[in-house]
């Protein structure tokens, strides 16, 4: 019976599965230097950006797509992708009233009422819809604090000196295959700069959404917290149902200067494909931060979507006494494959990192934790604590843990703990005997398993994440 319930639970359909009918302005399929020139021209970019893109593209041509991750998927035809697509609309918007009503309806279906959020949640929302930012709110309040929060395109135009100074400093265009591709063709994304000593007055949030069919999404985010600054950034994703696979290769760079703190939270709910594994997003993301002296970078992620996830939000602990954290919940249900983890690179003295990874596998899902803790010779007194827990629902799924630890300094302390468990018949029966239905029991047990991570999320996000997890598990639990 419990197998059956888990089965029923995991069979729940993807709730965000619908397509918005908006005229898209796209360029032809395929990738070459001309396409890159068109993208750059469409965005009115300065020369340095075009140069940078072309350098990345030429390097990309020399690279091979990595295949070391524990995931199987059909080959990607990079010449069959449309690299630029923007919803047709008025070029400049003064308020939300000017946004295409279809678009606003889409947000409403997803439960993202911008208006309400503006008023109630004290969250500034930079909504990225198919590569182009269409609405940015709360700008005034942020501007008063001196915080820059805008689309990447706008940053390139309005703050080219900052972009030029930091772009590619954490994730260089040569970093890896997908980062190189992103650097060449990225269409838009978010940019944040928090000046010296400023605590950003609100949580910053972006909702990404893939819409036009066969449009790869190449988002680029750059967040800079100047000395002593603090910023908390929330990223939430959801995408409509689709038959063909969609590539998503984003890059996120975080720069925490001396004494700064960056908290980056993600709830990722891209379309995972159907029960047989058809469709679904390929999520190949490079996320990395560099932490200077006494600064702190904290990644929290809840990954429930995508057909294939390949993602290792990392921290380079460059400055002395810097801190890196990674809190992750990854769910692989149906035929989903998640290969995710982190890299903590300790360079500075007395640097400290914490890794808490919770992997949930259900259906035929395959969940891999892959992590690297590297302590270099210079990292006197470095410390790391790693905890990797896997939870299995049903007997057809898999959990894999691949921790790499390299320590070059004898004064370092590195701890690793790992566990694998199944939702037990005993646990379910105990809940049922107390009057809790099997579905609610599964959801309760899984949320309990993830609590350590959820408590790192901002309050409203934590509630959303719990709901998302329960919904994503429906149809899966045994």
């Amino acid at each position: 019976m419990s197998t059956q319930t888990i089965h029923e639970l995991t069979k729940r359909q993807y709730e965000a599965g619908f397509v918005t009918d908006i005229e898209s302005e796209s360029i032809p399929r395929g990738l070459n230097e001309d396409v890159i020139r068109i993208i750059s021209a469409k965005k009115n970019e300065p020369d340095f950006m075009l140069e940078w893109r072309l350098r990345a593209y030429r390097h990309w041509l020399t690279l091979k797509e990595p295949r070391w991750q524990k995931a199987e998927y059909s080959p990607i035809d990079y010449q069959d992708i449309i690299y630029y697509s923007a919803p047709k609309q008025k070029p400049k918007l003064d308020s939300l009233d000017q946004v295409d009503p279809e678009l606003l309806k889409t947000y409403a279906k997803l439960g993202i009422p911008l208006e309400e959020q503006k008023r109630l949640q004290n969250v500034a929302v930079d909504a990225v819809f198919d590569s182009v930012s269409v609405a940015t709110t709360f700008k005034d309040r942020l501007a008063k604090a001196g915080v820059i929060f805008c689309s990447f395109s706008e940053a390139v135009r309005e703050h080219p000196e900052l972009v030029k100074k930091y772009l590619g400093t954490v994730v260089p265009h040569s970093d890896n295959f997908f980062a190189a591709l992103n650097s060449a063709v990225f269409s838009d994304g978010s940019f944040v700069y928090v000046p010296k000593g400023v605590r950003c007055p609100m949580e910053l949030s972006t909702y990404f959404r893939i819409n036009a069919e066969n449009t790869g999404q190449f988002e680029r985010t750059l967040i800079i917290a100047d000395e002593g600054a603090y910023v908390s950034y929330l990223e939430g994703c959801t995408a409509p149902m689709r038959d063909t696979n969609q590539l998503h290769a984003a890059v996120v760079e975080l720069v925490a200067l001396d004494g700064a703190t960056i908290k980056y939270s993600t709830v990722q709910n891209w379309y995972p494909g159907d029960e047989q594994g058809r469709g679904g997003i390929y999520n190949f993301v490079t996320k990395r931060g560099i932490a200077h002296t006494k600064s702190k970078i904290s990644w929290t992620q809840v990954e429930t979507g995508s057909a294939v996830t390949w993602k290792y939000p990392s921290v380079i602990l460059k400055g002395d006494y810097s801190v890196g954290e990674f809190y992750s919940v990854a769910l692989a249900n149906h035929r989903q494959q998640a290969d995710t983890g982190t890299k903590m690179i300790h360079l500075g003295r007395h640097t400290k990192s914490t890794i808490v990874s919770k992997g949930i596998s259900a259906g035929f899902g395959q969940n891999t934790y892959r992590g690297l803790v590297k302590v270099l010779k210079s990292a006197e007194g470095a410390r790391n604590y790693t905890q990797c827990d896997s939870l299995l629902l049903g007997s057809k799924c898999g959990a894999h843990t691949l921790p790499y630890i390299e320590v070059k300094n004898a004064s370092a302390q590195v701890e690793h703990e790992a566990s694998t468990s199944k939702i037990g018949e005993d646990q379910l029966f105990y809940c049922q005997q107390r009057g809790i239905s099997k579905e609610d029991a599964v959801s309760m047990i899984v949320n309990g398993f993830c609590r350590q991570v959820f408590k790192e999320l901002p309050m409203e996000f934590a509630v959303e994440a719990q709901k998302l997890l329960s919904v994503s598990l429906e149809g899966s639990v045994g």
């Binding site: 019976m1 037990g424 018949e425 005993d426 646990q427 029966f429 105990y430 809940c431 049922q432 005997q433 107390r434 009057g435 809790i436 239905s437 099997k438 609610d440 309760m444 047990i445 949320n447 309990g448 398993f449 993830c450 609590r451 350590q452």
Partner: protein, 260 residues
Amino acid sequence: MKPLLSIKNLHVRVAGREVLKGIDLELMPGEVHAIMGPNGSGKSTLSQVLSGRETYEVLEGEVLFDGKNLLSMQPEDRAHAGVFMAFQYPVEIPGVGNLHFLRTALNARRRTEGKEELDAMDFLQLAREKSKLVELDPTFMQRSVNEGFSGGEKKRNEIFQMAVLEPKLAILDETDSGLDIDALRIVSGGINALRSAERSMLVITHYQRLLEYVVPDKVSVLAGGKIVRTGGRELALELEKKGYAWLGDGRTPGGKEARP
């Protein structure tokens, strides 16, 4: 008066082996009935079958609870109807707060009864009240369900849950096992405080020790899958002196030697 629980000719198989071989038992409202017996006699099987564990296969017989066919009901529906089992080995659920767990359970039942759900504040008040019965420290309610609890704490938690859920039928499955004398006193005190004319109890135990504190109205001895003797509380004392062997295992007189 009609019996609250009526078991007729119950045969149950576990892992290919017939463990219960025709149980007949009636429990009147408010009655406390102790089921004693040697290890492997089927005591725990009886409690598991009544609470709805699936690994047990009913071959024959019926169980009526409050006039309803208990065996056709899902475990959670039995709970909603008023069946509660205090587990011999309470399960740990990491990350799930004790209070949250119990409030979810109580509200699930209240929903089926058409009652309004209790909010966190009202529930906290109720929980504080009930926790006094088993001398539970309030901080302990914030911890994860049974996680890192001592044996005694787990059993006290079971009785605390019973106090909150207020069942019509409480099945206490070896609640005394693993308890030291102080914990036994506290747990028994909680059980006695919950005795009432509306609440029946099936007290399953190996030793008569618990029955010194929780004095039963009736005692039945289960051996070899059958009830071989039913009597008053004095039967428990007799068992304490003579062991189980003299009652046989339900098949042959004398039977196999009972383990202590």
